[in-house]
Every structure is written in C-alpha cells, then in structure tokens.
C-alpha cells in the first residue's frame, strides 16, 4: 500500500474511518525510508522501534473507538537541530556526533501530546548554517527530483523527506530562509512562522533574534494543522508570544476575493532565472483570476537585506556557538594540555568550515572599534527593512515573491565561494529580519536537461498573518496541481 504518499489530512481521515491502521501507515513510511534513503540521505537517525511502539498505542485507541486528535498517529520527521530526549542530536556537526539529548524541545513535547509518531531526525547544514545541506558533517542530502542536485538548506533533510514521501510531514527551522528555500527546491510547502509564534526552547540556537521552527508538508492545509499544534507562548522562551491565539485551520476556506496582493519590484531582478520569474508571474495571474487584486509595490531597502543579515547573524552565531567548548558536552580534544587548548582544539576540530567562518565574522563585527560601523549599522538597516514591510502591509494584505532567484543547483557547484551560496537566500532574508511569516508553495517546474526541477512562490504576511498566507496558499493549491506531483525517483517500487 502506498500510504506514505498520503497527505496529513488524508492520513488522519483514513485512520479515523479505519481504512488502514496507524501501524500500516508507519510501516509504509519506514519501507519508503528503507528503499529510498540510501539515495536521498534525508535521515541521520531513524527511530523505528519508537515509531512502531507509538503506532501500537494509537491503534489501541482506534480499536477502542476513541476519536483521534488531528495529528494523532501521523508519522513525522524532525530536523536534527531539535532536542528529543534520549535520541542522538547532532546539529549536523562532528562536535555533537555522539551527543544524546537530555530533554524534549517544547514543540516536541507538544507534538508528543498530540500523538505524533516520530520516525527520526533529518540531515541539515551544520548548526543550520547553509543553503544546500552540503555543510553537514555527515554528507549531503540529495534532491529527490534530481539526485545530482541539492535539496536546498539548511533544512534539506526535512524538505527531501516530505518530497520523497519518507514521512507525512516534518519540522525544520528557518533563520534566513532555511525552511522556505528547501521547500521551494523540493516542491513542497514550507512555513516560517512569525518570530515568537513558536517556542524556541530546545531548538539548538543559531541566531536567536531570527530562529523559528516550522513545518514542511505536502499541502498548505497540512502545514496549517501542524502550525496550530506547535504555536503558543512558552514560559521557557521569553521571546514567544501567542499573538491573537486564533487557530489558522478554521479560516482556510474563507474567501480570498478582493484580497490585495503586493508584488515588490525589488524581487524581480536582472540576473534571476527567466523561467523562475515566468512561473511566479503565472501564479500571480492565477491568483488574479481567483479574485485577488494585484498591486505593484516597492520595498526600497531590499537590496541591503543580505548585507544586514550577514553582519547580524554571524554576530549572534558567535555568541551562541561559544557554548561548544569541550567542557560540558560534545567533542573534547584528548590532546589538550591546558584549558585554552581544550577550547581551541575542540572547536578547531569539531566545528566545520562554514560555522568557523561565521563565528569569526561575528567575532570581528562585535569587536571593540568595529561594533558601531558594522553591528550597530546593521541594526539600523534592519529597522529600515522592517519599516518597508510595515508600510506595505498598510495597503496590501499579502506580498508574493519568488522564493529563490534560481532553481536547485548541482551538488558541489557553489561549494567553493561562500558569498555565492549566501546569495541563494536573497529573497528570504528580508522577511526573517522583519520577523514576519512566510510560506513557500510549489508553483511549477523548470526543465533542465533530463530533469524537472521545482520552483516555489513565497507568500509573506504581516506579523501573525499566518492565516492570510496559508489561506491563499491552500486555495491556490486547490486551483492548481503543482504540489501533487511526485518525483519519479529511480528507486525500486515501494
């Protein structure tokens, strides 16, 4: 049975109406992992025993006629940057290669309470730093649409796992685009919530003023179900905020007729791929025929977003990474003769190149004499970017842009120049700096050589505007079929 190809919505209703059992659903996903993941490498750790035991408990409930909660029995994967007690958590790094998490992240606690069945931990760029998953210390993940290409990053494993039907949904994290960009590259839906909407307790920190946990799913409706389950204020995360507390899911069918969509000219630039631009403009035409009103707008400071991000984020990274010192956990150099050597050797050997680069960049921009010129300046530019969005949302309800200027590139193609890799995030970074929510939904494919490569459209909303962007995404998906297409992998039939 190909139960692993179901959406969350379909899986829930199928189990509830006893068409199939939770154990059958979980087994289908585990078989998909067994036959596909050697090629895709989405997973770092597969937790089969835990998954089967959880599935049995759900089946007992179904057998006793107890109605299922929306996410109950649904098999999910989790980016290996989230703490799951008793399970190896590596952050994609050698420095945590053997580290076993000692507590559950708040989102994990919440999803356990909802009855989610966890299949395992997925691959990522080391400590969530990257746009291709090539920075993982444990090898790259491959794009299910073309195994010679990247799935995007940093949540490449979580995106690929959903695209390859190796789970029903997954969790990722997004700091500068790390959910939205791989969602676009893998032809799935990926949501970065409003900053503060989801608790960061138990998320291994990268840049604390930007990090957010969010879902990858096969549909915007599925993403809404997961978002409603993981959101909420948390006493363990003082930056978390309940917003208006209203669930998104009940509003997905409300009319989008008359909804005002802003198209910022700064996101349709020379040098971006012409096919990508065409597909996003076609999607906008579809939204117009569905009754949305389109407006050209300007977000004038967009071009400075990446520069502001690559000062702000390394600064925060340099602070957050200081805890990996070989003292309390993680790799500790056995050759150190003194304390300084413990620090320098453990970090020198245990941390990868991109992580070291960003730590050093951050150390430099925060150093005495440079703080005003770099970090303080970047904060002021960040403020200007926020103002651009706030001004725009006074006259439009939603902003639509391409998720990326390009399409999935070949593994190794951008590995030698860090700056070229950073440019992959040029359309996702401004929304991160402003703290607003963004979702990437599939809007078509480009043909390159023998491969069909996915392209994503990014929907941005005002703070706590997840309801608007998911509603538009859901209704766009009802009108089009891009999100239902599956990669034709060269695997043995599952």
């Amino acid at each position: 049975m190909s139960l692993h190809t179901l959406t969350l919505f379909q899986a829930h209703h199928g189990m509830q109406s006893k068409e199939f059992s939770c154990s059958e659903l979980v087994e289908s996903c585990l078989n998909a992992i067994a036959s596909r993941d050697e090629a895709v490498h989405a997973y770092l750790t597969v937790t089969e025993d835990i998954a089967r035991a959880s599935a049995q408990k759900v089946d007992e409930k179904i057998h006793r006629g107890i109605p299922l909660k929306p996410l109950e029995g649904i098999p999910a994967a989790v980016k290996d940057v989230l703490m799951m007690a008793g399970i190896r958590t590596t952050a994609g790094s050698k420095i945590l290669e053997h580290y076993v998490a000692t507590y559950d992240a708040t989102v994990i606690k919440k999803l356990k309470k909802e009855g989610v069945v966890f299949l395992g931990k997925t691959n990522l760029d080391e400590f969530a730093m990257g746009a291709s998953t090539e920075n993982s210390a444990f090898g790259p993940t491959r794009n299910p649409w073309d195994l010679s290409r990247v799935p995007g990053g940093s949540s490449g494993g979580s995106a690929a796992a959903v695209a390859a039907d190796e789970c029903i949904f997954s969790l990722g994290s997004d700091t500068g685009g790390s959910i939205r960009q791989p969602a676009g590259f893998c032809g799935v839906t990926g949501l970065k919530p409003t900053y503060g909407a989801v608790s960061r307790y138990g998320l291994i920190a990268m840049a604390s003023s930007l990090d957010q946990i969010g879902p990858f799913a096969k549909t915007a409706q599925d993403a809404a179900w997961v978002f409603d389950a993981i959101r909420g204020s948390d006493p363990y995360d003082s930056s978390s905020h309940r917003g208006d507390g209203k669930p998104v899911t009940p509003h997905l069918e409300h009319s989008i007729h008359g909804l005002r969509i802003g198209i910022p000219n700064e996101y349709f630039i020379d040098g971006m791929d012409a096919d990508v631009e065409r597909l996003v403009r076609d999607a906008l035409d579809v939204l117009q025929t569905m009754g949305c009103e389109l407006f050209d707008i300007s977000l004038p400071h967009t071009q400075y977003g990446l520069a502001a991000y690559y000062i702000n984020t390394p600064a925060e990274v340099s602070a957050n990474m200081a805890r990996y010192d070989g003292i309390r956990y993680g790799y500790s150099s056995p050759d150190a003769a003194n304390l300084m050597e413990t620090y320098c050797q453990s970090r020198g050997r245990g941390l990868g190149k991109e992580v070291q680069r960003r730590i050093m960049l951050g150390t430099y921009v925060l150093a005495a004499g440079y703080y005003d010129a770099y970090y303080k300046k970047a904060q002021k530019v960040r403020h200007l970017l926020q103002q651009d969005f706030m001004r725009a949302f006074r006259s439009v309800d939603c902003i639509v842009t391409p998720t990326s200027p390009g399409f999935p590139f070949r593994i190794g193609e951008k590995a030698n120049d860090p700056l070229t890799m950073y440019l992959a995030d040029i359309f996702t970074v401004p929304a991160s700096l402003a703290g607003i929510p963004g979702v990437s939904v599939p809007c078509g494919f480009v043909q390159r050589e023998q491969s069909q490569l996915p392209v994503g459209m990014q929907l941005l909303g005002p703070h706590f505007g997840e309801e608007v962007i998911l509603r538009v995404g859901h209704q766009y998906q009802r009108e089009t079929g891009w999100h239902t297409q599956k990669p034709q992998l060269a695997f043995a039939a599952v």
């Binding site: 000692t102 520069a307 050597e341 680069r357 050093m360 403020h383």
Partner: protein, 98 residues
C-alpha cells in the same frame, strides 16, 4: 575591509579556534570578500534611526526569580554528556598558568 593573515589569526584566537596556516590563508581571503560585500551598508542613510530589540507585541517579558531544581533522572542524563568528570564534578584543565 581587507584582512591580513595576522588579523585572522587574532580573530581566531578570540573565537577560540585552532587553525592551520592553510586554513588561516583561505579564511583571510573569504572573510575579506564577505566584509567587502557587507560594507555596502555604509551607503545607506541611517541618520536619526532609533532601533530597538523588540519582539512585536511583547514588552518586559519577565519570569519569577525562583529555582526549579531538575529531577534525578535529568541530572544523571546531563552528567552522562560530560566529557571528563569525577563523580558529580565536571573536570577541567588548570584554569591558571595555562
């Protein structure tokens, strides 16, 4: 801002990173090019901009100042992750005279 290898070595020491000469050379080039890119912010007029570190909608998020001791099982799990220990005490190399 073009960094010298001497600058990079100093930054690496501040960041507590042991790097080889080859690594220092590569990072010097890469960091210099990234800094050159981000320096475009110097062209942005930010006169009079007041910024604030605020999560929209939140102010003065406070917590009660009381200790929540962790249970024995969590404590044991935490101690299990320590690279060098004697009983319940974390061992480190000498702090002075390094």
């Amino acid at each position: 801002m073009a960094l010298t290898q001497h600058d990079t070595k100093h930054i690496a020491h501040l960041a507590r990173l042991d790097l080889s000469d080859e690594e220092l050379a590569v990072y010097t080039t890469q960091l210099s090019s990234i800094l050159a890119y981000v320096e475009q912010l110097n062209t942005v007029d930010t006169a009079g901009i007041e910024y604030h570190y605020q999560v929209p909608g939140l102010e003065h998020a406070m917590a009660v100042d009381e200790v929540n001791a962790c249970d024995a099982q969590t404590r044991a799990a935490l101690m299990d992750t320590v690279p060098a220990r004697t009983g319940e005490v974390i061992k480190v190399k000498a702090v002075f005279g390094a």
